[in-house]
């Protein structure tokens, strides 16, 4: 019972964070101030990345809402320009993964544009498998590394 209650409170807090549409500074748990429209804001309150299946550059249905939230967020901060960075897991060759990362960055960019962001505000780049977030060699690390990450410029 207590757990469920806590969960409900957490969900409310999350909703509050998501609907924080005004220009007031969002607060982290530690009480540090996050500047609205910054990368920290994007990471903490929107989600900066979407994940892909192995050897795929299709934006998954469960990842699309993250990009749609990013588009709304960019609508709130019209001066923000972003770079979408495509990444892959280590289970492929370097050159192919550079191309695959580019295709992922492009797929994420296309969803942002379809969600109303002016394409001129978005650049793309690929790092292939050469800039992993997770450093392990297992499925959970690979799943984290198959991403397109939106970075405020």
């Amino acid at each position: 019972m207590t757990t469920r209650l806590l969960g409900a409170v957490a969900a409310l807090a999350l909703l509050a964070a998501c609907s924080n549409t005004d220009q007031n500074a969002a607060q982290t748990g530690a009480g540090n101030t996050i500047r609205p429209g910054s990368q920290e804001d994007l990471v903490a309150n929107v989600g900066d990345r979407v994940f892909f299946d192995f050897d795929s550059s299709q934006v998954r249905a469960d990842q699309r809402p993250v990009l749609q939230r990013q588009a709304e967020w960019m609508g709130r901060y019209p001066d923000v320009r972003v770079q979408v960075q495509g990444n892959t897991d280590e289970r492929g060759t370097r050159e192919y993964n550079l191309a695959l990362g580019q295709r992922r960055a492009n797929a994420a960019r296309d969803v942002l544009v379809a969600s109303g962001v002016n394409g001129a505000r978005i650049t793309t780049i690929s790092f292939g498998k050469d800039r992993p977030t997770a450093l392990g060699s297992d499925e959970s690390a690979w799943a984290q590394n198959r991403n397109a990450t939106t970075v405020v410029q």
């Binding site: 280590e90 550079l98 191309a99 295709r103």
Partner: protein, 451 residues
């Protein structure tokens, strides 16, 4: 290298007049100390299972004679086709052997071939006299004197190694070559990747870029004087860049709006075949070094890692156009595309042998990665090495040996246990050995013969 070098070298190898074999290195035939055979060559067909026992005593006369002998011994042992006889067993002294070999002394310790020589310091210039002997018939197979600045002593040792290889095996060697690669330092999420170059035996390492921008996938120009590679230096954009080894000058290749990657020079050195991305696609282009480009593939796939056949008539590449990564061959103009890989798994990084008879590749299956070879029509697939992760084969100029890089699996969530090392292997699949590098290393590319 221009044509006259190749011509001069050929004359040296058949024992004609003096000539320049490399900048600053002159080779002169030595008068025979014993009867010269008529084109005697030891049968190579037995070499795969039975390496040729060869004795390589220190060259006499100067302390560098020992260094030169060690480099030669290392080269010949590492290629797997020779077995240097243990020097503990030597009976005749190097000084005495350099004057006149006592063949009985070398026969009884099992040597079939013998290398003798002398190093003379001529005030900064070294004169290195070398003779190769066939021990059983007591014949001199080769006698050459190299003269070069003392700093070039390693180069002389590699030239001698190539002469021995060619005289005893009947095909060109690959010791006077270099390897360009990517030197990697730091944790994988903040990896520094620099262009580096070394001799094929893992000596004389030198960094070519400073690491401020990631450098990937270097490849040699047929002259060995230039490199094409991929770099993030152009305002952070990943582009294929030409690098001049002598001057250090760099220049973005072609004029493309998006990422360019996976360059390889054409055999005539006048153009580069590479991939360029547009939208979600990657297509193959030929970019002329003098300017101008031509698109060869199209149609919605990722077409990467193109490589010319040595005669320049065809290009092998890697594409996911059929669903997953496979190898395809097309005419150099872009027509007549046919798939050649049909085994289990995904195939990538095809490279055509300088001999034209094989294509080496990376294969990725459920269990792990492998390096293999197949004929250009896709038949005769053979796996040479398998493991957790490996990729990027590159051929020695004689097509006999491959280098590639092998990665080990991270054993914890902080990336501990991960490494990336260059290894070499005979195309018959034996004699895999690490190529020593000061740091982690990837993307090796073998130069043509330098002389």
């Amino acid at each position: 290298m221009n044509a006259s070098f190749a011509f001069t070298r050929r004359r040296v190898l058949i024992g004609a007049g003096a000539g320049l074999v490399a900048p600053g290195i002159v080779a002169t035939p030595l008068p025979a100390l014993a009867q010269q055979p008529q084109g005697a060559v030891i049968d190579i067909t037995r070499a795969r299972t039975d390496p040729i026992p060869i004795a390589i005593p220190d060259l006499a006369g100067d302390s560098r004679g020992r260094d030169i002998a060690r480099v030669i011994q290392n080269n010949l042992r590492n290629c797997g086709l020779f077995r240097p006889v243990d020097r503990q067993a030597f009976i005749q002294t190097p000084e005495s052997a350099a004057q006149t070999p006592r063949f009985q002394d070398w026969r009884v310790i099992g040597a079939q071939a013998l290398v003798t020589g002398r190093v003379i310091d001529q005030g900064g210039q070294l004169r290195v006299e070398f003779r190769l002997w066939d021990v059983l018939p007591e014949q001199q197979l080769q006698g050459t004197a190299f003269t070069a600045p003392a700093a070039n002593w390693r180069r002389i040792a590699h030239l001698i190694s190539d002469v021995i290889y060619e005289r005893l095996l009947g095909e060109k060697g690959y010791f006077d070559t270099r390897v360009v690669y990517v030197a990697e330092t730091g944790p994988r999420d903040r990896r520094v990747r620099r262009l580096a170059i070394m001799d094929q035996d893992g000596e004389n390492h030198r960094m070519l870029t400073d690491g401020r921008f990631a450098a990937l996938t270097p490849r040699f120009h047929p002259s060995a004087e230039r490199i094409a590679f991929m770099s993030y230096q152009d305002r952070g954009q990943p582009r294929v860049v030409l690098f001049d080894i002598g001057s250090g000058r760099q220049q973005v290749l072609g004029n493309f709006p998006g990422m360019t990657l996976s360059p390889r020079f054409s055999p005539d050195g006048r153009s580069v075949v590479m991939s360029a991305t547009r939208g979600g696609d990657a297509n193959i282009f030929i970019v002329n070094l003098g300017g101008g480009e031509r698109q060869l593939t199209s149609g919605g796939g990722l077409d990467v890692s193109p490589c010319f056949s040595p005669d320049g008539s065809q290009i092998v590449f890697n594409s996911d156009r059929g669903g997953d990564q496979q190898l395809y061959v097309m005419d150099a103009g872009g027509g007549n595309i046919r798939r050649i890989s049909f085994g289990n798994g995904r195939y990538a990084t095809p490279v055509w042998s300088p001999r034209g008879d094989l294509i080496a590749f990376t294969r990725m299956g459920r269990g792990g990665f492998a390096i293999g070879v197949m004929r250009p029509d896709g038949s005769g697939e053979r796996i040479l090495s398998e493991g957790w992760a490996m990729e990027g084969p590159t051929f020695a100029p004689n097509g006999r040996v491959l280098m590639f890089f092998r990665e080990s699996r991270a054993t914890d969530s902080r990336g501990g246990g991960y490494s990336s090392r260059i290894v070499s292997i005979d195309i018959a699949g034996f004699n895999e050995r690490p190529v020593p590098t000061p740091t982690d290393a990837s993307d090796p590319a073998w130069s043509p013969l330098l002389s």
